[in-house]
Subunit: 354 residues, 2 copies
């Protein structure tokens, strides 16, 4: 129950053990195509360029930026947590001139401020679900209000399959995610989608060879049926992602959101009933990642160690300005079950003496 | 029996299904430390900075270059196949001024030519085992002869655990590998090692955030016991790598080389006995990856499809100048068994009518 990785779905664990296939085997290529279709369903997009990047969520972030940022490009980035900060670092290494729009950690970003930050940015970027603070940032108003010519780039690592996400409906041009949160798959892949508008802005020969989207697409999409080898696809992890997406789409995407909502609400209600104070405001509180202040007089490290050693339950510590002051509790993927919520609450009752 | 991925060891398949652990869980961190120790054993190095990069072999190549190349650095690269070509592309994207030393595809590089190519290069780089041609390039003479101040950077993707590799003994400064060849693990990680000399040359804030070695090392090595989170480690794949390395070290590294040698020799002898002509010269022929010319009058695509559809045996087609003209047959990892060799030879007897 940390901030990810979650427990993978049983079907995912089984899929990882499937007999190996070559990355050019027609059977594997069919499965890869199906995986990309399933990704379109959970992103809610029709983007042709939708695929898993061969690295963890942060590789997705780098792939998102490195393929469209030209040196000197004006990029507006909303920052209200660790992953917004990371976006600034990644964009700058690609040569972007970054305009930051900050909000306090634990508070949501103000869409109006973001839209007012620059008259004609090349890119506006922000995190949908901040894993460091448990805060949801609103995306739709930025898609509506953004100037022509600005691409909207969104980190969906912790939102995908856990809360409503509507890439096409909200006007998102570039979105990336991770597999180890609400998708219920081990870490190791980064789903990525690029709109046609974003695709037209892809730079020639980006500074990263490994994350060069044009070359990767020549393999994942083929051209006239031919697949051009770029790098060896991480076969077993793609088996896993294919299976995890299958579980979610069989359940129904809205039902999966609902399950995350229910588990998160049960946890948050249970914590408040016990006197804990939650970090994120109720209007922008993520169900899949709950942040809670460590009560005065309670030993952060002792509690986390006791939960892990006595009960086999992991919860996450705070990061950045919240290090040592807050916990981060995940209800994601296969972990988003009421049985886990009641077990954690009972274990906390046992470990903490108020 | 393609040029990788190989079949994973059964112990590896089992390890991927281990219950998930968090990337900061002490149990996982112990396993990660053990994985790095085992990597030192197969690389034959004492380098402190030895770890798995969270991407496939090509991510290892990019991590190898991007952390030590400064714009304008003189880099000598030996090119006698696809992966030497890739090195040129990757190094140039990092800002290197590349001096190429070419040999024909199918022939080994000449160490003397490489040493004579530039009086004081920052880096000399080449591929140990060219997966595109089945040729082994000699590394030791370059380690002995290289000028002071030049780092020796070697691609060991297809050599690690399959043929002799002696990073410290040969004076290699930077080496990277892949998991899906002779290590017998699915694709998805890139073992990497940096000597102390290479480490001292690590650039500040490399253009890739994801592959920033200093930040990654702050997680894998910790500092004073503390591990600083960089990105979420691909847990299940690290379980797999840990298990695959365990299989090889239990067998004995030299025994694993010997098994690859025996399987490769049996295949190559069997092919020559049937009248096939091998591509690589006997002096520099890889046992783990055999390249063979498609005989005149034989239909490349038909044979490969028939092997796959009738016998479930994959072999690889040629790439680059050998596309349509040669096959690439892997005997790597768990696939390096005599039973697979005799099955393939018998299937070829059935499929090809001379």
């Amino acid at each position: 129950m940390g901030p990810g990785p979650c427990n993978p779905y049983p079907e995912v664990v089984a899929a990882m053990g499937r007999p190996m296939l070559g990355h050019l085997d027609p059977e594997f290529l069919n499965l890869l195509d199906e995986t990309c279709d399933r990704l379109r369903a959970v992103f809610q997009t029709n983007n042709a360029l939708t695929l898993p990047i061969s690295g963890t969520g942060s590789a997705g972030m780098e792939a998102a930026f490195v393929n469209v940022v030209k040196p000197g490009d004006e990029v507006v980035i909303g920052v209200n947590g660790l992953f917004g900060e990371r976006m600034v670092d990644v964009a700058q290494r690609c040569g972007a001139v970054v305009t930051r729009v900050d909000a306090e950690w634990g508070s949501p970003l103000d869409p109006t401020e973001i839209l007012a930050a620059h008259p004609n940015p090349a890119i506006i970027a922000l995190v949908h679900a901040e894993t460091s603070t448990g805060v949801r940032n609103d995306i739709a108003p930025i898609g509506v209000g953004k100037p022509d010519g600005a691409l909207l780039l969104v980190d969906c690592v912790t939102s995908i399959a856990g809360i409503e996400l509507d890439v096409d409906g909200w006007g998102v041009d570039v979105a990336y995610a991770g597999t180890q949160k609400c998708l219920g798959v081990p870490p190791g892949l980064a789903p990525l989608t690029y709109s046609d508008a974003a695709r037209q802005r892809i730079v020639e020969r980006p500074q990263s060879w490994y994350l060069d989207l044009s070359q990767i697409a020549a393999y994942t999409e083929g051209g006239g049926g031919a697949r051009r080898y770029h790098h060896t696809a991480p076969i077993s992890m793609i088996f896993a992602l294919h299976a995890g997406l299958g579980v979610i789409l069989d359940e129904g995407l809205r039902n999966a959101w609902e399950r995350h909502a229910e588990a998160g609400k049960a946890l948050q209600d249970g914590l408040e009933k016990r006197g804990f104070e939650l970090v994120a405001p109720v209007t922008n509180r993520l169900p899949e990642l709950t942040t809670v202040w460590v009560p005065a007089g309670v030993d952060d490290a002792f509690v986390r160690r006791a939960l892990l050693e006595r009960y086999g339950i992991e919860i996450g510590g705070g990061v950045g300005v919240m290090a040592g002051k807050a916990w981060r509790i995940g209800c994601m993927g296969h972990t988003a079950r009421l049985r886990n919520v009641v077990a954690l609450l009972a274990a906390l009752d046992d470990v903490i003496t108020w």
